[in-house]
């Protein structure tokens, strides 16, 4: 029997490395208990112990691809040439923007913010089309919050609203909120009641003790009715007709919420991407706050991409605002709808874009994509995407967390260090951004600093 954590006999002739406590950066769970077996000869991860189905795909599919490091107008170029052209595009633009940032390290995000500050540009992250509305609600009503560790150890009532973690965050159930045994939850799932609220049944539904099907677009009404019932107020008699949720179900939920020891409301994009957006998120935050008159209750968004929470943190500590930040006047301004990328592109207001680790050409509205195709675009991505295809300067980069170290934030705002598995010949986002920053500083030296407008 091989020793635990040692290569198997079959692997002994190979150049194998074991990386313990590695971090998966695919989704916002940012699980940092991975044990990776790395074939250093083939530059690939062959085993990812404890990884979920999405984590395994993340680790196994990120190998070293045969791609040029830099393409300018579709032609191969050197890294230096790529950074020269990128810097010139950004300096020449009247309204340059940077977007993405959720799949790179905080160290890279920090430089991207500084670049946009330097050239009076606009910085936005994938948060704006993810939990941006929850960020807006957070500013309006606050957040009764907790870490996932606290939830794992204490929560006996777990409510998922508008999300499908079984498919989007598979280990959310097993590592944090449903099955694990905790300090005050000694029997794991047996000590918890799990509620799932959604417009359709999903693979997450069987995990729930109670499934609440709400009519599409009626989440706000259900949440507001729950707030009223928690406070002992009357609600409309036609609530079931309006929302699809019966009065009996609402009364049962209210009883459970008021009488649990520790409750958590996890909110998904079923709330932020539908009619009501930040009002939906605000309603769920307010419900959690209201319930603290009776018991301990918290609310947390279930965040998507690996380091999208890091992007919120970095942009917030650098500018004071979490996303959609504009430096046109020489100081940061925040206004969702005005300075968020989807809107800027759809209105055709920007004349150059630096897209880092995201794919707006696949995920944005048709109008926004059409404008993106008309302007010079700089992309940094570990894979080819619809956005890299339409870009003027495209950098192939090392994969964060697999080829690079650095810092990422878990969805509950906990920073975690990365342990890379194998080296990559591709530069990191951080290195490219640093190169562009240096070039921009040189280009602006001796000339008048960019005029704020």
């Amino acid at each position: 029997m091989p020793e635990p954590n040692q290569p198997s006999p079959k692997e002994k002739n190979k150049n194998i490395k074991i990386v313990k406590d590695a971090t998966c950066t695919f989704c916002g769970c940012v699980c940092d208990d991975m044990e990776l077996t790395v074939d250093l000869d083939e530059h690939r991860i062959t085993k990812a112990k404890r990884a979920c189905v999405l984590g395994r795909a993340w680790f196994y599919e990120h190998t070293l691809e045969d791609r040029p490091v830099v393409l300018i107008d579709g032609k191969e170029a050197t890294l230096e040439e790529g950074m020269d052209v990128a810097a010139q595009i950004l300096v020449d633009a009247k309204f340059p923007i940077t977007y993405g940032l959720s799949d790179c390290t905080c160290e890279a995000q920090r430089i991207a913010v500084d670049i946009m500050d330097t050239i009076n540009g606009n910085i936005d992250t994938t948060t704006s089309v993810c939990h941006g509305p929850s960020g807006m609600a957070f500013q309006g009503v606050g957040e009764s919050t907790a870490t996932l560790g606290e939830i794992r150890n204490r929560a006996d009532l777990v409510i998922y609203w508008g999300g499908n973690p079984a498919e989007s965050h598979p280990r959310h159930f097993t590592r944090y909120a449903v099955t694990p045994k905790g300090m005050y939850i000694p029997n794991g799932k047996k000590d918890r009641t799990v509620v799932l609220v959604d417009v359709r049944k999903t693979p997450s539904t069987p995990v729930a003790d109670i499934f609440v099907r709400v009519k599409p677009g009626k989440d706000f009404e259900v949440l507001w009715a729950l707030r009223a019932l928690v406070k002992g107020k009357r609600i409309s008699n036609d609530i079931e007709e309006q929302t699809g949720v019966s009065r009996e179900m609402l009364d049962d939920l209210v009883y459970r919420m008021k009488n649990c020891q520790y409750g958590i409301l996890f909110l998904g994009m079923g709330l932020t991407m539908t009619r009501g957006r930040h009002f939906n998120s605000g309603a769920i935050y307010s419900l959690a706050a209201d319930l603290n008159e009776y018991t301990h209750f918290v609310a947390k968004p279930v965040r998507g991409h690996g380091n999208v929470t890091g992007a919120d943190n970095v942009v917030s500590w650098q500018t004071g605002y979490p996303f959609g930040v504009n430096f046109n006047r020489g100081f940061p301004r925040f206004n969702p709808g005005e300075f968020t990328t989807s809107d800027l592109l759809a209105r055709g207001e920007t004349d150059a874009a630096m897209i880092i680790a995201s794919d707006p050409a696949s995920n944005f509205s048709k109008k926004a994509i059409e404008h993106l195709a008309k302007i010079p675009v700089i992309t940094m991505d570990a894979k080819e995407t619809h956005t890299t295809k339409l870009s003027k300067v495209r950098f192939a980069v090392a994969t964060y967390g697999i080829n690079t170290g650095g810092t990422v934030y878990r969805m509950d705002d906990i920073p975690i260090s990365l342990r890379p598995a194998f080296d990559s010949p591709f530069p990191t986002d951080q290195e490219i951004l640093e190169g562009i920053r240096q070039r921009i500083r040189k280009l602006l030296t001796g000339s008048k600093a960019r005029t704020a407008f």
Binding site: L54, R200, P216, P336
Partner: protein, 139 residues
């Protein structure tokens, strides 16, 4: 609602309008794009790879809706909204899993073609609950 529709009837979960254009039945349904496991695994292989493109271009419909529209698994349907249209394959889901009048599709290039750009001053386009017309595309 389209003034030319022949009949309108209420469902527990949505309003469905039915039109007859030639021999084709065209219905208005609610499109709910979202994450799926196969979308998540295939995007790691690459967003330009066939697997991802197929996954994000396959819509799930209620089995009764499929029957009424004379559709079987794998048939092509045209989804159209006010801003665009796309042709995707379809797959049946049981009545209990997906309500009548609702379509699920994994997020991707196909669903983006149908998404409006208005964000109601939030930065977030209405990415779920899009009203779309549905019709069979004859092969």
């Amino acid at each position: 609602m389209d003034p030319d529709c022949n009949s309108i009837f209420s469902r527990p979960d949505s309003i469905v309008a039915i039109l007859f254009q030639g021999s084709n039945i065209v219905e208005t349904m609610l499109l709910v794009p979202g994450r799926s496991q196969s979308q998540g695994t295939s995007l790691n292989k690459g967003k330009l790879k066939d697997e991802y493109l197929v996954v994000t271009a396959t819509a799930e419909l209620n089995e009764n809706d499929m029957r009424r529209l004379k559709l079987v698994d794998g048939d092509k349907i045209r989804l159209a909204s006010e801003v665009g249209q796309t042709v995707v394959a379809c797959k049946a889901k049981k009545q209990d899993d997906l309500p009548e009048g609702m379509i699920f599709i994994p997020y991707g290039p196909s669903s983006s073609q149908l998404m409006g750009s208005d964000t109601a001053a939030s930065g977030m386009p209405m990415s779920k609950h899009m009203e779309v017309s549905v019709e069979k595309v004859e092969s």
